[in-house]
Amino acid sequence: MIGPDGALAPERPSLLARAPWWLLVLALAAVLIGWRVVTDALWRDIASRLLDGLGLTLLVTAIAFPLALGIGLFSALGLVSRNPLLRQLATLYVQVVRGLPVLVQIFIVAFVLVPLGVEAANALGAQLSAQDVPMVARVIAALAFAYGAFEAETLRGGLTSLPRGQAEAARALGLSRWQTLQHILLPQTFRRVLPTLGNDLICLLKDSALVSVLGVRDITQEARLYQSATFRYTESLVLLAFFYLALTLLVALGVRALENRYRRHAA
């Protein structure tokens, strides 16, 4: 596994070894599945059902991930704060959220925290019922909180890995704490943790399937509904897997392109 030069992979693999065979296998599968969809009415039917749920899967991911990044950034700043109260609060959040299965968190947010929040709002004079908070919003909130804890740890690791001289140089120029953070530390942190962020985005995209347990009609829920009506398990699951793989591969390629743009002049 580890070569005589200490490298994990050979430094200059041959063209044959370098070619992305794995991608070719997937592309081949895509062609086969695509051919079935085009020629077979049943497969076409399933595909169009899944397409109905695609928007929701993307919506949940596209809203939950930026929220998770925001929560994670706040918590990361708490984790490295010199204020002990902030540090303890941030640690409490990260440890609690990281220690619970995402599925359990979704249940807790949807059926405990949201009703409690509605009650609290009503006590303050609002006139709401729990039904006014759509399930999809509850699920987005739950995923954002769950992934905020991961992002907090990721960003904290990135922030603390920067050489101390960077902050020193910025402060010595007269930049304020916030200017130092905004213009010097966070841009470098972001570049460093980009691969991890991409990984987390893929995980979140996959975990968005959990929304189906609340009946939110994402692609997983559409597949399940189709199965319970037709008992066509194989076809719908193959197509469902294909949809997720296409999405995660797109994200992975996008993140890699972004990485390459930054890597050329990384410190």
């Binding site: 007269g174 304020s176 841009p187």
Partner: protein, 252 residues
């Protein structure tokens, strides 16, 4: 105590004391820097030179003593006063510490824009002019990692100058450079000195101190042992400790 200089010192430290656990890094150190002069701080490793320099802009906060800028005491716990003080007292580091995510000219323009509130256009013009001054006009659009160590340090000097500080602190500016590259950095510093830039330089380079310094401060074990002109301190030290240090240096 050093004798009171004739002109008002621009930067002054009085009775600075700093402990790291049980180590006394600075023991009631006082120095005064007159405007337009070059102060060289010399001494063996671990004598507190860098700690003293870092106390002058509060990258190290002293346990006791005070730092004065033009006779006004600076309170490091007052964020606004601290930032304003640092904008007037620039610093050049041993490891350059350029910002790797910014182009060379952006490194220099950033502080001019954020601290001196120059427009983006004016900040870029200032950056290009400063790069020209340190001989790096052709490197403006390079990334810091593409520069040699000497070039990085010259860019770092330009960056420090971009906020138009009244005093420039140098923390062993050539110690991370191989001998072939120290010359170009020292040349820039000599040029600054000849333009009467006020500088405080922590260095191991006795030759540079002899040629460029107006005032030499010799430190050992957290104390100032001797202060005076290079001719006094380097060539005719009165203390046994300084004599030993400088004879070793010139012999080596």
């Amino acid at each position: 105590m050093p004798p009171e200089p004739a002109t008002t010192p621009v930067l002054e430290a009085r009775g600075l004391t700093k402990r790291f656990d049980t180590l006394v890094a600075l023991d009631a150190v006082s120095i005064a820097v007159a405007p337009g002069t070059v102060t060289a701080i010399l001494g063996p490793s671990g004598s507190g030179k860098s700690t003293l320099l870092r106390c002058l802009n509060f990258l190290v906060v002293p346990d006791a003593g005070e730092v004065l800028f033009e006779r006004a005491q600076i309170n490091p716990r007052d964020d606004a006063a601290l930032n304003a003080h640092r904008a007037r007292v620039g610093m050049v580091f041993q490891q350059f510490n350029l910002f790797p995510h910014l182009l060379v000219w952006e490194n220099i323009a950033l502080a001019a824009r954020l601290v001196r509130h120059l427009s983006a256009d004016a900040a870029r013009k200032r950056a290009l002019a400063l790069l020209d001054r340190v001989g790096l006009a052709d490197k403006a659009d390079a990334h810091p990692t593409q520069l040699s160590g000497g070039q990085q340090q010259r860019a770092a000097i330009a960056r420090a100058l971009a906020v138009e500080p009244a005093v420039l602190l140098f923390d062993e500016p050539t110690s991370a450079l191989d001998p072939e590259l120290t010359g170009e950095v020292l040349a820039v510093m000599r040029q600054l000195a000849s333009e009467h830039t006020t500088m405080v330089v922590v260095t191991h380079d006795v030759e540079f101190a002899r040629q460029a310094a107006t005032q030499v401060v010799f430190m050992d074990a957290g104390r100032v042992i001797e202060t005076g002109s290079p001719a006094q301190v380097i060539d005719a030290p009165v203390t046994e400790r300084a004599r030993r240090f400088f004879s070793l240096k010139s012999a080596g």
